[in-house]
Amino acid sequence: MRRIRFILEKEFRQILRNKLMLPILFIMPVVQLFLLSYAANFEVKNLKVHVVDYDVSSLSKKLLNKLHGSDYFILSSRSHDTEKAYFNLDQNIADIGLIIPNNFSENLYSGETVEVQLLINAINGTKAALANNYMQNIVSDFGKEFHSDNITVQPTKQFKGLKISHRHWFNKYEDYKIFMVPGILVLLVTMIAMFLSSINIVREKEIGTAEQLNVTTIRKPEFIIGKLLPFWILALLELSIGLLLGWLIFDVPIRGSIGLVYLFAMLYIITVLGLGMFVSTITDRQQQAMFISWFLLVIFILMSGLFTPIESMPEWARVITKFNPIAYFVQFMRMVMLKGSSSEHVTHLFISIGIYALLTNSLAILNYRKTTK
């Protein structure tokens, strides 16, 4: 036990001594939390529309007003020339071109079909599909309103409607930040734990101090515990700061039990530390360790369901996510924090992460040799 204490003391001194690292370790979570929760949003709004209105009637004006009133569109420019619309799309001045034909109101009143043309910059496919969807909804609403306003024209065609009501559970105000914060906390904890642990041992190897540690009487497990414990504490500290900030600033609720969150986090951080340690044992330069960690993290993060839903992935990708510890923690945090899932709902996640923790750490311990070749 005493030997572990010495290693601990040494590690903490090394962390606290580095004047540049300390601010990074503590400012990072704050910056990351803010940046990510405001920027990481797929929501589509403020699309710039170039309007070409050949009709210029009260009806076309009404349609434009309807567009203007929605959050999604900004009527940024207008002209009387379709070519100008194409040009503006080319120049990134507009995202959408809307072309209203000159027989728009005439045809509507006489009960004929009218065709409105939409030009959409589709480089971002998802954005284009959503924009199209919003646009269609607004146009079809406009059509319905027109028909019910002019019901006297066609009295026989009165019909009853379909009412679709919707309720949003767990996030009434549809605040995307509330959804993102629990996931970002996972990212934060993971990055700290992974990078610190993966560079740590390899650093001793690179500088040559590993040799010195190897000739001491310390045993392998003691050495590893002493090495990882500081990072474990640090990562939990980061999580606490993140939870506190999330609660104070973004009003992120913790509907489930906070004890459960910490219990899972403790296990999860052990998993990540084990993984980082494993990387550290198979590399011999810090740069190498960083790149391997970076590579693993990027894949794990992209495939964790943090930014894009796992259900949208193809079958093979969903199988891969079964081996992704980040995916488990992200899912867990969202379930417990936002929906108040209780321990019985998340038992399977605990089992999976437990197995993972055991696996990565045994790999790391087995692979670590006190002797150099």
């Binding site: 940046l35 990481a40 699309l47 080319d90 284009a128 059509g143 590399t283 379930m335």
Partner: protein, 371 residues
């Protein structure tokens, strides 16, 4: 002449460093491939086969028809038929379903009698965006169903919309991501790798030795960066080729312009990398600064993944000083819109301006030498 020879020796030394380290080399060459494939196939927002619940209070022919229609669509898959409202919350908490469709009593009768019908959609909005999307898609299916049953007989004139999807008619997500992946990889190799390499020399004290040699510091640094420039170019070409062969992305006719812009951005990244290495004095710090100050903003604020125009005003302002944002606009224009100098000159000028600024800053910082 003497200088030129030593210069090449530095290049050669750095080259050997890179080639000797198989693991890092493997990752540097493999990373772009993995990223393009992940973004091309796995990273998508599209709703497909979302698992939902169906609460049928009516249980008649019409509600059965509706259920079949929903199941037949590509978007949804009804995996639980609920018995009562109390089971809804349990389903959400287990994370098994994303939405519940509640069909009222007498659904069929109301439809037949041409009365108002109301259907309730309850969504798990812990993820508000996907909740909105599933509600949107489901509403469209319900309207269509209703249309078929009621409105079809009434023949109403409609406003139809003719839609043209420009530049990417099949809404291929690779088109959008490939430029972003190129940017990230260039940033990673040119900025992060160089900053760590130089910081490493400082950490081991080699920098002192190099600086007392007759070569100018700027020549030394330049020599060290050449291999990374070559590596970056190799990566960019790899990504373009994958885009072309695997994802049928168009290969621009303005290749020369594209390559010039890529070189410009490599210089931008290098100057950033050198700047970081002047601040950091060991590899760990260089890595952390690269991650925080370079990669994170590049990924988040460049419009690579998340649309800039939806961000708060402040972040939109910040995005202007992110070089990657301009670079992504430029290469998208060139690759997907077949744009020439006439269209991208403004963005290019901004990028050149930013590059010169960082270049001067890093040279100034560097000549102060080691403390």
């Amino acid at each position: 002449m003497y200088n030129l020879k030593t210069f090449f020796n530095i290049v050669k030394k750095e080259m050997q460093h890179i080639l000797r380290d198989h693991r890092t080399l493997f990752i540097l060459l493999g990373m772009p491939i993995v990223l393009v494939i992940l973004f091309g196939f796995a990273i998508t927002n599209e709703i497909k086969d979302a698992e939902i619940g169906f609460l049928d209070k009516s249980n008649d022919v019409f509600s059965l028809q509706l259920r079949e229609k929903i199941n037949a669509s590509n978007y949804f898959n009804i995996n639980t038929v609920l018995q009562n409202e109390r089971n809804i919350e349990e389903g959400f908490k287990r994370g098994e379903i994303k939405m519940v469709v509640v069909v009222p009593n007498n659904f069929g009768k109301q439809l037949q009698r041409n009365e108002d019908v109301s259907i309730q959609l309850i969504a798990d909005a812990s993820d508000p965006n996907s909740a909105n999307t599933v509600i949107g898609y489901m509403s469209a299916i319900l309207r269509e169903f209703h249309m078929k049953n009621i409105i079809e007989r009434m023949q109403m004139p409609a406003i139809s919309t003719q839609v043209r999807m420009l530049y990417n008619p099949h809404l291929d997500s690779t088109f959008y991501f490939v430029p972003g992946v190129i940017t990230i990889i260039l940033m990673l190799v040119s900025a992060m790798m160089t900053s760590i390499t130089i910081a490493r020399e400082k950490e081991f004290g080699n920098m002192e030795i190099l600086l007392v040699s007759p070569l100018k510091p700027s020549i030394i640094i330049f020599g060290k960066t050449i291999p990374y420039i070559m590596l970056s170019l190799l990566n960019a070409v790899t990504i373009l080729l994958i885009g072309y062969f695997v994802f049928q992305m168009p290969l621009s006719s303005k290749m020369w312009l594209l390559i010039l812009e890529v070189i410009l951005f490599i210089i931008t990244s290098l100057s950033l990398g050198i700047l970081i290495s002047t601040v950091a004095n060991n590899q760990q710090t260089a890595l952390m600064i690269s991650l925080m100050a370079l990669l994170l903003p590049t990924i988040l604020l460049s419009g690579f993944i998340f649309p800039i125009e939806s961000m708060p005003k402040l972040l939109q302002w910040v995005s202007h000083i992110i070089p990657a944002k301009w670079f992504i606009i430029i290469i998208k224009d060139i690759m997907l819109k077949e744009a020439g100098v006439a269209i991208v000159w403004e963005e290019t000028l901004v990028l050149i301006g930013i590059t010169i600024f960082f270049l001067i800053l890093s040279i100034k910082k560097f000549s102060i030498r080691l403390s």
